[in-house]
């Protein structure tokens, strides 16, 4: 750690042992990170190691001595019969489009709400816009299915009766788009709330300076406000990206990855391999490849965007 961790106490001045309070403050950074590290070690190493182990053996067993290691055969299966590649493509499509939609929409809404003058209206929007996140995935999927159902769903009904357009069969004709839009409805709030909090920590003076400098509204955002809240924007987007990567519940409930495998996200594939096809080894292999991929993506993003644009 940096020079700042240096002891701050005048231990030698007082002589004798440093007090508890001094020990607390002198090693504050260590105390501060210790619980986090502890939890992290617990929740990362074991599951990761387990999946790796599982991906290398034939039959799942907890007895390592009994395990029959089969090398990369599970990986081969994953990419041949397992449809791993396809599900990566589907996942990346969903991640990329939903991420863009949600970020842009979330920021746009946050900025609009931040500019609302009336405190009460502001509060109203703030609460309302967050609520979709609170709809449990079970409800989302079940209710979503019925609302989108071509026969009995209210949304196709409304489109058919109130607009000149014919409603598409959401879940069979445009399943991917449906999934993306539904996720947008569901998770734009996440971006909204973080961006909103980020916006509220931009000092007024900066905005004022840019106004005097003659920047039109959008440039103020592009050049002053967003750069200032860059860390927040970056982190929110990154986290959302990762969450999108592992999206499961709603999509599974909605389409079960179908029709066919049109919406078979990696998470759904892993689920099916594990719990339906009962091929834990293949599931674990996909998980391992996937984890490596996501870590690589994050590393690149963090290195390229984070450390070269946000944190330097």
């Amino acid at each position: 750690m940096s020079t700042q961790t240096k002891a701050e106490t005048a231990a030698d001045e007082k002589g004798g042992f440093p007090s508890l309070r001094d020990i607390w403050n002198d090693y504050l950074p260590y105390w501060f990170v210790a619980p986090m590290v502890l939890v992290m070690v617990m929740i990362t190493f074991f599951p990761g190691a387990y999946d790796l182990y599982l991906s290398l053996i034939e039959e799942p067993t907890f007895n390592v001595l009994e395990a029959e290691f089969v090398g990369l055969s599970n990986y081969v299966t994953a990419f041949t019969r397992g449809g791993a590649l396809h599900s990566f493509v589907v996942t990346i499509t969903v991640v990329a489009s939903a991420l863009v939609l949600e970020s842009v929409l979330g920021f746009f809404l946050a900025a609009l709400v931040a500019g609302v003058k009336s405190e009460r209206a502001k509060s109203f929007y703030r609460v309302l816009f967050i609520v979709p996140m609170a709809v449990a995935p079970v409800s989302m999927a079940t209710i979503g299915r019925i609302m989108l159902n071509s026969e009995v769903g209210i949304i196709p009904y409304m489109i058919n009766t109130w607009t000149p357009f014919a409603a598409p069969a959401f879940l069979s004709e445009i399943p991917l788009l449906t999934v993306i839009l539904l996720d947008t409805w569901n998770w734009t709030p996440f971006m909204f709330i973080i961006f909103y909090a980020g916006l509220s920590s931009v000092p007024d003076t900066l905005v004022e300076a840019s106004r005097v400098d003659g920047a039109p509204l959008w440039r103020r955002y592009v050049h002053v406000i967003i750069p200032y809240m860059k860390p927040v924007v970056f982190v929110a987007t990154l986290i959302r990206m990762i969450d999108l990567f592992r999206t499961f519940g709603v999509v599974y409930g909605l389409t079960q990855g179908g029709p066919g495998t049109a919406t078979q996200l990696v998470s759904i594939n892993i689920y099916e391999q594990m719990f339906i096809n009962n091929q834990p080894g293949v599931a674990a292999a996909i998980a391992v490849v996937y984890l490596v991929l996501v870590i690589a993506v994050c590393n690149v993003v963090i290195a390229k965007v984070g450390f070269e644009g946000v944190w330097d």
Binding site: R81, I146, S150, E151, P259, I276
Partner: protein, 442 residues
């Protein structure tokens, strides 16, 4: 409705030891079984959300009184239950002493997760053949409990059976002068007539969604009736690319695509049910015992106009509807398998089954005697009971080989693609055949 049935619940003594027992203990005490030998212990039952659970729960105090064993329940929807069951057995945790089993029987068995029950059947303190009357069970049910013919051992005990029949709108049939279809061609013609002459009503509806309880479950009926079968030669030839299969798939796909509702390829059984309930389809082929209560119940807008008949068959085919059994089994690491076995016997016994079907709206008994029971027949309707009973007697359940989940899932995906119009049924079935064979060729 059965409002408020719970996700997970401790089912110990809902009516408690106080009050009347639902079924007199004497019905059981006559058996040559030492019911009380595990007094004071407890069993944990993992179950899916199923009418069987609702039907049996009020009777459980009887079992508790009879044996002194406490029963606790873990009831979940199918998908969630599957996750939990698999976690439990694959890690050897053995939390469930008794749990619902379905298509994965043979897989679980070959993994060594399931305990076969024969040693308990052979234990005279646990089993009395004369009392339990195994031959009262439908043959198809017993066959499925033996791994669909893949083993000669009991893998569990069947508790419910479902068989496919045809439901149709009597009013619409009357209006358009239609006869109830006996052949597939008639079935299609009826759909066509309704589809073309009724606004807002589709000719038919059917499961298009993938999954082994979904589209292929229905299709398998027509496959067998077309003279084909799954695994012409196990494990070399899946039979999925035979002409019979391709014809069946083409017929089913075209039926749904031509006269089915929008988005048929994503319809699940519940969508089909809802569609029919709301009067938006002319007829369906679906599980008699599960759909009948729904279609005639208060949720339904067509309660008075729904008719039932045996499933159609090809003009030159043999009748053989698909049937499906839930069974309950016990795992290798379960701590109270013997107690569990007692529960299985008790739950599937004639007195319990009869009571469940007389006192509840249940209609899924695995016992022929129940279907022949007059009181039951008058409750559910003579026509329904007769159609179902006849169908059950001739039912031909799917044989679930050990890797059925793997290839079955892919097979259903292919069928779904065909229904969605992404590829031809023929191509889909050929692909499915290849997948199935590949899986075993490794």
């Amino acid at each position: 409705t059965r409002g408020g049935s719970s996700g997970t619940s401790t089912g110990t003594g809902e009516s408690g030891s106080s009050g009347e027992l639902a079924i007199p203990l004497s019905e059981y005490q006559g058996a040559d079984i030492e019911w009380k030998q595990f007094e004071g212990s407890k069993i944990n039952i993992g179950a899916v959300q199923h009418p069987w659970v609702d039907a049996i729960k009020p009777a459980v105090p009887v079992f508790e009184e009879l044996t002194g064993i406490d029963v606790v329940w873990n009831v979940l929807p199918e998908q969630q239950f599957r996750t939990k069951r698999q976690t439990d057995v694959s890690t050897g945790a053995g939390q469930f002493d008794v749990f619902f089993m379905d298509q994965v029987i043979n897989q679980f068995r070959s993994e060594g997760w399931l305990q076969t029950l024969d040693k308990y059947f052979n234990d005279s303190s646990l089993y009395d053949e004369n009392w339990w009357k195994p031959n009262d069970l439908f043959e198809s049910s017993r066959w499925q409990a033996h791994g669909g013919g893949y083993t000669d051992k009991w893998t569990g005990i069947p508790i419910t059976t479902e068989v496919q029949t045809q439901f149709y709108r009597k009013d619409l049939y009357e209006k358009h002068g239609l006869e109830v279809a006996e052949t597939l061609e008639q079935h299609r013609q009826n759909a066509k007539t309704i589809h073309e002459n009724e606004s807002d009503v589709a000719g038919t509806a059917g499961r298009g969604q993938k999954g082994y309880g979904m589209n292929i479950y229905i299709l398998n009926t027509f496959i067998r009736e077309n003279g084909a079968k799954l695994w012409t030669k196990f494990p070399k030839d899946s039979g999925l690319d035979t002409q019979g299969v391709i014809d069946a798939a083409t017929w089913y796909t075209n039926l749904l695509r031509d006269y089915g509702p929008e988005g048929a390829s994503t319809q699940t059984w519940s969508d089909v049910l809802t569609t029919m309930q709301e009067g938006r389809a002319g007829h369906i082929v679906a599980d008699a015992n599960l759909f009948w209560p729904g279609l005639t119940g208060e949720d339904s807008q067509v309660a008075d106009s729904v008719g039932i008949a045996k499933a159609p068959k090809p003009a030159d085919g043999t009748f053989g509807p698909n049937a499906y059994n839930w069974q309950i089994s016990t795992s290798k690491n379960a701590k109270n398998s013997k107690q569990g076995f007692l529960f299985m016997l008790w739950a599937s016994s004639q007195p319990t089954n009869t009571w469940m079907h007389l006192e509840n709206d249940a209609a899924f008994s695995v016992r022929q005697s129940v279907w022949e029971n007059d009181e039951f027949r008058s409750r559910v309707g003579e026509n329904f009971a007769q159609v179902t009973l006849e169908s059950l007697k001739e039912a031909q359940p799917d044989p679930f080989d050990r890797k059925y989940p793997q290839w079955g899932q892919r097979y259903s995906e292919e069928l779904q693609r065909a229904i969605a119009g992404e590829k031809s049924p023929e191509a889909a079935m050929k692909k499915a055949a290849k997948i199935a064979e590949d899986i075993y060729s490794e």
